[in-house]
Symmetry: C3
Subunit: 444 residues, 3 copies
């Protein structure tokens, strides 16, 4: 029945079965690896603040075994998991008013890893001055706990993004484990085309119908950001979606429920997230879901579903049945099923993968010299991610793809140019300019 | 109590504890290995046809990750599991009227791996002409799906064995996973002596009492077949069982319920099977149970028990309790418990293991030059496997072992000589000759 | 909030994250390793006698796959697990009146591994004279099964410790698996300080209040024993606890429920135990709990809880909930959580770890030349482990730590000097001398 065809490209399994090694440089993040060292120059989320209650929490981050806890004074510690004394795990330690004590012999550590007491040792013992527990600077922000894993003499600023300060927006933290390398999870953010297929055309509409429209897409590299601008025709409107990722594993996603039916200008993000390696074959998205009356006007989102291993967006977790994953495939399995570590050498990338290529190249360059971050204004770092919908009816005898491209460029130019505005007025000024966009030359 | 004895061979554990490496040449079957390449020159079953319904099926065969499916037109595809585009698993793909689409970006593959569409790419994209998905020729036969994993320019004939064409015989497919290397499962077929012990004398009678009689056994190597002829004294009768395996992992087993009490001539097989490596430490028997009024006259077999991970023969599956496996041990655990890969260098083989040795030597030679298959007659390949029971009463003052041996040789000579007969008459002619066997010189 | 402090020892995680290799010499015990060979010169427990009933028992000891069984004559066999014929596991064998038969082809082995029959082979076969099954001498003692894994020409005496012969003492066998290397389990016995913290001060009182008192501790190396003598002030009394381990993995523990409130002299052990490697990352404590009216006067111990994976002492097993392990941490998780194999190079050992250091040095020396065992008296090997409580009220203006040290030394001197006494009178004479200890010079 299935005869061999004479075509060159039929039944080539035998000649294509070899599986080369992964791109270690971009995917491996253990201590001492190039990407691992890059990631260690940035604050990384490690758990939700709400997970730190009366017991220590065992963590695995970039191959390092850790324990996190909040001490009696409310301060957060992130320490190496194994006690510097004899190696018992501090996940079995006793949280103290200040720091934590090991269960085994009571060695008492402050949250910075300095030894407060070695109670079994004689009073004059100098051990506590000559030893310490490995520790990392930690801080809480927006319901997440962040730690800094790099050289202690080079702690970076904690980036305070503009989207953390929007009036009326509530940030709800979440985390979702993925049984695969961090990069294939992260780069999904620079792949707007998958939304057309995975989230719409391949089966159930997972977000809104509008996502199934094929966009005209542009990709931008702007300092420490890699971005896409995807412009879609929705009836008489054009929906311009601007998404960004930041070196090395930061990203934002525009509002999820946009349907393109009503005009909107510089509507901000649905989620801010970091994709953090647990080890080379597992990673966790730590994120902040943004809720506001404007973003959730359609009543689809559900704050109660956002938390540890849970999100109110379809297909983001690995706890659905295999049958459901096969019938209505989500991001989680599309990413995880690329193998424990996706093999770039086996890919056939097209024009639609330009964002992924741009991101990988950006990261490869960052290994040599991390890009300068977008400059903060008044201490607040501007970001771009947003949805904009403008009324631009379809014109007969016009190349509408060119129209979409031109509008996308105008929208993104306005947004990017807003970087230098003062934080207090930037969003409003950008929206204002976007509203004024539709003039004679709008679609030229 | 347990004193050390002065004997040389007592308590030698300390000197016998080293575990050498397995025989890689015969046991390893990944891409590029000698045995793997040999197996890839033959059609191999990969699943049951009934498993291909509305969803793709993930498979692992000889270390290769695959997906099998039946498209809307009813054609079967066996493709590399990871999409050629960006590696998402096609087990999450959408089966189309023609071929399958990847869930992630909708790339559309025909069953031969050629790309029908890359819908996210611009109309003029040439990707689909320059890339393809790894695919293997596949076909359905008798309720099993077979694929060919070798060089596409050398697809072999699909062997059409005589036992697929017997009137009144229904072939019922099954598959059973084994947590061990393929060879120790396969070579059990060339080990008739284990039936005396494992299936009879060591505990419960798993088949019939007759199996517990010690046979006189001969081993034959005939072209691409390795065979045994086991002759047993059952009262006034002699039961001659002829079993065969074929290069590299094909085999047939005579009827299971023979009790030797009634004459029968060239009664054909109880099961046809292939032992297919999943990887080097796991394998699956894919088989066809043969049912007919004659074979199942005793009413023991049960068609309803034959399928995926199920067979109507005791001890063939791994889902029994450990206690039951210990008390009434079956083939499954006798094979799997030889270690994940049995260590030939630790064996002490005797005369009863000649079939196993012959098979291994046959396979080792086949690695250098595959043997010519037994020639098809009218497109149909003759096979030997059968039970024959002839009346030859025990004679006083005669070496009955010599009688058994002589009868076994006569029976097998007649059956093998039947190779050149036309398919339509071969079985009847062989039976006729066997019936005429019992003459003055029968046991001389 | 958590600013980097200017101190040298704060936030040093980045500089302390490397995990060196384990100390292979002391921790690895597979065939041919230095420690493995040392352990193979001593009788090792492998299971409870009660586990050998009507079915064989599969075991893993020092990386060797084994099977243990009791034959129909009541004799115990410890054989290599895989049949010398074709490798099927003897855990699926049939126990015979004499020895065991393999399920697959019925090869029949005596408990010493000699082949009694190869029933499928012809009568004249010489296989049974030229082959054998790997076997180890085995014996039962006190409800445990012991085997000797060393060269068969050098079987050592089975040590008959004095504590096996105490009147009124019942020995109840138990075994507890640990998911970590043997050494970190074993050396807990030479670490009396952990009892102050883990068992008392860090949370619930797991034994008695008295354990929470900080002892004055001395460490002794005496032939094949490494010991500690821990002396505690309990009101007007001094409690001297003497514990010992023996080369390489033997140990004893004094009575568990001592509260120091009543005088007692040379009260013997609560448990005798051996920490046996399963492989390098798992080990099993095989032990004998001692029960007597004297030892269990408080009614805390519970014989019914002692057995396979069960003990009547808190925190000794791994089957408690993670929450309970975090809140009331026991020895099991304190030991197992030191990593699968504790990394000595990362430890910061203090004066309180002198016992652990002494033990490791003792073992390292034993690898070169095993120490001479303490000489048996009348066939019985003296041991030291015991609790002694003497009335020595606290004196004003006295350095009580010096008093405790002096008393500890006097007690241990008396006990050690008792080595040469005849077994029948030793315990009474030692107790007598200890009772006479409190004189004018007692605490000088």
């Amino acid at each position: 029945m299935n005869e061999l065809r004479p075509k060159n490209r039929a039944y080539q399994g035998y000649y294509k079965r070899d599986v080369p090694r992964e791109d270690e440089r971009l995917t491996h993040t253990g201590p001492g690896t190039p990407m691992g060292e890059l990631m260690r120059r940035y604050w990384q989320p490690v758990c939700l603040a709400a997970q730190l209650k009366d017991l220590p929490l065992a963590l695995l981050i970039m191959g390092e075994e850790l324990v996190a806890f909040r001490d009696g004074a409310g301060r957060v510690g992130v320490l190496h998991r194994h006690c510097a004394h004899r190696g018992a795990s501090l996940e079995f330690g006793r949280i103290a008013e200040r720091g934590i004590r090991c269960c085994y012999h009571g060695w008492h550590y402050d949250i910075d890893g300095t030894i407060l007491e070695t109670p079994g040792e004689p009073p004059g013992s100098s051990i506590k001055h000559n030893a310490c527990q490995g520790a990392y600077p930690a801080r809480e922000a927006h319901g997440l706990v962040f730690a800094y894993f790099g050289p202690p003499e080079a702690v970076p600023e904690f980036p305070d993004y503009d989207t953390f300060h929007l009036p009326g927006v509530e940030l709800v933290p979440y985390s979702i484990k993925h049984g695969c390398n961090w990069l294939q999870v992260h780069e999904n953010l620079m792949d707007p085309l998958h939304a057309v297929f995975l989230h719409s055309r391949m089966g159930a509409v997972q977000l809104t119908e509008a996502w199934g429209e094929m966009p005209v897409t542009e990709w931008l590299e702007l300092g420490d950001r890699v971005c896409y601008v995807a412009s879609r025709r929705i009836g008489d409107n054009v929906w311009v979606r601007f998404n960004e990722v930041g070196t090395p594993n930061f990203g934002q996603v525009g509002g999820f429920w946009e349907d393109g039916l009503a005009e909107t200008f510089f509507q901000r993000v649905g989620a801010t997230r970091w994709t953090v390696p647990n080890d080379d074959r597992a990673s966790t998205i730590f994120g902040l879901r943004h809720f506001s009356g404007e973003l959730e006007a359609k009543g689809i989102g559900n704050k109660a579903l956002v938390g540890v291993e849970s999100l109110d967006i379809y297909g983001q977790t690995g706890d659905r049945s295999y049958d459901e994953m096969q019938r209505n495939t989500g991001d989680w399995e599309a990413e995880v099923s690329q193998r424990p570590i996706a093999i770039h050498a086996l890919e056939h990338r097209g024009t639609t993968d330009r964002g992924v290529v741009l991101l990988r190249n950006h990261l490869a360059r960052a290994l040599k010299a991390p890009p300068a971050p977008v400059a903060a204004q008044g201490g607040i770092v501007p970001t771009y991610t947003s949805n904009t919908v403008v009324r631009v009816p379809l014109k007969p005898d016009t190349d509408d793809r060119a129209v979409l491209q031109a509008i996308g460029r105008q929208v993104s130019d306005i947004i990017v140019a807003g970087n230098s505005l003062a934080p207090g007025e930037r969003a409003a000024r950008i929206a204002e300019q976007l509203q004024g966009l539709i003039g004679p030359g709008a679609a030229s």
